[in-house]
Structure formats: structure tokens, C-alpha cells
């Protein structure tokens, strides 16, 4: 059986709210005055109060009913969910990245600039030459001094064909090498160091003409020393003493030319010879 569900009147609603202490202060004063003066309102108020008391009594009685034992057991024996255990650890620095508006704008401009620069470089340099350059790291590592050493090692073994123009034609050598290398020079007399001029050659080192003056030891050991010169190279600003492939070399530069004295790595006086040659050439 279900009782009809009629909507309460406005007065009933106000009185019900008044019973629960939910009426506004103004409504409360009006209802208190109404209850004093209006008998029908008092009847309604009493009826609502009586209904509340009756219902509360019924509902309180419900609590006296025994709770099913299986329900209690079910709850008591229910497994608790596993909790993630957080082990103690050192506090970590906050990783949150929250750039401000100005920072974001700056980053955008920076990326725009970098992107534009990369695009410009790609457009200015065709990819093929770049690829050729990057795909041949050995040629990058090999500098012009390696060419000088290679020529020396090749010709110092050619006893009968050491030079293209022999030492008996110094004028031709001067003209020829000066014209082709662009370097004005003299043929140094290194007899004080025990060296005799043996002739000259013109070779290329790293694409540039290189004049080579050959000298031989006067003590009969057939040791060959080469004095080479080329137009000034920007990468030889300071003197170099080095040994490459058992070949010793000493390099120095003037404003007009770069000189390299090459000889066997066993030649202990190579730097002395270079010092003398630098003053005489």
C-alpha cells in the first residue's frame, strides 16, 4: 500500500522548515506570530511535530533489529586494498617547468632565429659538397705539412733524380721557383752546418706551389735535408717542430712566405739548420 503523494501547502512547508531550524529569521518571527494567532497553523504545526516524533520512533526501533551475522563477517573479513608504500628518499628538486610569458616569447624568438639560421646555411651551401667534406674526415686530418713530408720522403730516396734543376744552375732555380711560388728567396749557403746544395724541385702541397731546395750532408752519409717554401699560409702563424713518419720538420713564417725545413727525424741539428736558413734565405 502506498499513500497518495500530495504536495504540501506553502504554510506546511514553512512550518516544516521552522521545525528543523531552517527557516529564515524573518520567516521565523512571522511563523511564531502566526502560531500565536492562528489556530489552524497551530494544528498544522502540531501535526507535523507529531508525524516527526512518530517517524523517529519507528526508525529508532529499526536499530534494535539484529544485524545479519554474515553481513558483519563479510565486512570484517574483506581484504583491505593494497597501498603503495613510499620509501623515504632524498627530496627531489621540483621538475615542473612553468615558463613565464616573457620566457616563452624569448624561447620562441630564439628558436625562430636558430631555425632561420639553419635554413639560411642549408640554402647557402649545397648539400653535396658538405657531404663530400664530411664523408672524408681523413682529408681534413691531413694538412699541407703532410704533403711536404710525403714529397720529401719520395724524393730523398731518388739519389740520381733528386732535383729537377741541379745546383749548377742557381739562376734558373731562382727565376723558376720565384715565378711559380711567388716567393722571393735566396739559396742559403748552409756549408757551415755541413750541408751542400743539391738542386731544386717544384711540387704542390695542398694545392699550392711549393719550392723545394735539397741539401746533402757533406760527411758522405747521403742524408738529404730539404728547405721548402710557399706563400704564407694562415694556419702557420707560429713555429712548428714536429716528427711525422720518421721525418722531422721545422716550420716558420714571415709576412710573405712560410718555410719548412725537412729532414730525417734522427737529425738532431734540424732546428739549428732552420735558424741559419731563416737568416740566409
Amino acid at each position: 500500500m502506498t499513500l497518495p503523494n500530495a504536495q504540501p501547502s506553502a504554510l506546511e512547508l514553512r512550518l516544516s522548515s521552522y521545525l528543523d531550524g531552517e527557516a529564515s529569521d524573518q520567516d521565523k518571527h512571522e511563523l511564531e506570530a502566526l502560531l500565536v494567532n492562528d489556530s489552524q497553523a497551530r494544528v498544522l504545526h502540531d501535526s507535523l511535530k507529531r508525524g516527526g516524533e512518530f517517524g523517529r520512533r519507528v526508525l529508532d526501533d529499526m536499530l534494535k533489529e539484529p544485524v545479519p551475522l554474515d553481513l558483519v563477517r563479510t565486512i570484517k573479513n574483506a581484504p583491505l586494498p593494497r597501498r603503495a608504500v613510499r620509501l623515504p628518499q632524498a627530496p627531489r628538486a621540483p621538475l615542473a617547468f612553468r615558463p613565464s610569458g616573457a620566457q616563452a616569447l624569448l624561447a620562441c624568438l630564439l628558436f625562430f632565429g636558430v631555425g632561420g639560421g639553419i635554413g639560411y646555411m642549408l640554402a647557402a651551401h649545397p648539400p653535396m659538397p658538405d657531404f663530400a667534406r664530411t664523408s672524408a674526415p681523413a682529408s681534413d686530418a691531413r694538412d699541407w705539412l703532410d704533403d711536404v713530408v710525403a714529397h720529401y720522403r719520395l724524393y730523398e730516396r731518388q739519389e740520381s733524380r733528386l732535383s729537377e734543376i741541379g745546383a749548377d744552375r742557381p739562376a734558373d732555380i731562382l727565376q723558376w721557383l720565384t715565378t711559380n711560388t711567388g716567393v722571393s728567396f735566396r739559396i742559403p749557403n748552409l756549408s757551415d752546418s755541413g750541408l751542400t746544395f743539391a738542386g731544386a724541385r717544384l711540387v704542390a702541397a695542398d694545392g699550392l706551389p711549393l719550392g723545394v731546395l735539397f741539401y746533402k750532408r757533406s760527411d758522405g752519409e747521403n742524408e738529404v735535408i730539404a728547405l721548402t717554401f710557399s706563400k704564407t699560409r694562415p694556419d702557420t702563424g707560429r713555429p712548428i717542430e714536429d716528427i711525422r713518419n720518421d721525418t722531422g720538420l721545422v716550420s716558420w713564417s714571415t709576412p710573405l712566405a712560410t718555410f719548412v725545413l725537412v729532414g730525417p727525424s734522427s737529425a738532431a741539428d734540424l732546428d739549428d739548420i732552420a735558424a741559419k736558413a731563416a737568416g740566409l734565405i
Partner: protein, 162 residues
């Protein structure tokens, strides 16, 4: 019992609250078996989600809200069980639990739970409306209607006794 800290075993709180949970479930379902099933379901969920309960406010509010939501989710069960209603006997002696239950369950749907939360559990209109998913006005209307119906039922019971 109204406050519970997260470190407390929620199962103890649930067992202590069982009579009140069953009573609220009964106002929703209208039958004891369905009320017990609903309580079992909600208690299981509460244990599973116990880490969500931060110990703020009344745990009853959380449990009642879950219960109302679980019951509302099952639309088929929203209709009160006729069998349960028919099993209760209005002519049973006064003070018989079956009769008391019947009187309560005979209220139109939604009135008993509103009445229980405000009149018995002491919830404010705002709290009770939040638990039941109603507006304050609808709750006030249902509460007033429940009081009027219960007043009529009380009169009827008094006349029968006389």
C-alpha cells in the same frame, strides 16, 4: 563515529555503522533482503576506496551518498519490491518490527530517506540534499510530506490501539 582518520581500519567503522546503514538502505529499497545486498555492495566499495576517504566531514555522508548512488544506478531495483511490501502485515501487533517497517516503507518513494537524514540523522537540508542528489527545495518538500504522512499513520495506529 562521525569522524574517521584515514589510518583507521574502515572495516571497524563500517561494522559499527551497520545498523544505521541498513536502516538507510531500507528507506531506499523498501525490503530487508535488498537492503542487506545494498549494504554489502556499498561496504565492499567503501573498503576498496577507503584511501579516498580523507577523514574530513562525516563518514556517514560518504557512505550514504555511495549507497544512494549505487541504488540509483540500478534502475530496475528502484521499484520497491512488492513481495517485501506484501510480506509486511499492517494488522501485525503494534511494536512488531515488521509492522514498523511496513509503516515506513508505505511512504512514497524518497520521503522516508529524506525524513531519516534530517529528522533522525541530524543532517542539515544542504547536507541531506547533497547525499540524496536533490535540490534543497525538493528535499524540504519531501520532508514535509513525510511528516504529514507519518502523522496520519500515527493517528491510524493510535486508533487501532484504542
Amino acid at each position: 563515529m562521525s569522524q574517521s582518520t584515514p589510518t583507521t581500519d574502515i572495516r571497524r567503522d563500517l561494522v559499527a555503522l551497520l545498523p544505521r546503514l541498513r536502516r538507510f538502505a531500507l528507506t531506499l529499497t523498501g525490503s530487508a533482503p535488498e537492503a542487506d545486498d545494498l549494504v554489502r555492495l556499498v561496504c565492499g566499495r567503501a573498503i576498496h576506496k577507503s584511501h579516498h576517504w580523507k577523514g574530513e566531514g562525516r563518514i556517514e555522508s560518504w557512505l550514504f551518498s555511495m549507497m544512494r548512488s549505487a541504488w540509483a544506478d540500478d534502475a530496475k531495483k528502484r521499484r520497491k519490491s512488492d513481495a517485501a511490501s506484501q510480506s509486511a502485515d499492517l494488522n501485525a501487533p503494534a511494536g512488531d518490527p515488521a509492522r514498523a517497517n511496513y509503516l515506513l516503507l508505505s511512504l512514497p518513494e524518497g520521503l522516508a530517506s529524506s525524513f531519516l537524514l534530517v529528522e533522525v540523522e541530524g543532517f542539515t537540508y544542504k547536507e541531506a540534499a547533497a547525499v540524496l542528489g536533490l535540490s534543497k527545495d525538493v528535499l524540504a518538500s519531501r520532508l514535509c510530506a513525510a511528516r504529514l504522512k507519518l502523522a496520519a499513520l500515527g493517528m491510524d495506529v493510535a486508533e487501532r490501539r484504542a
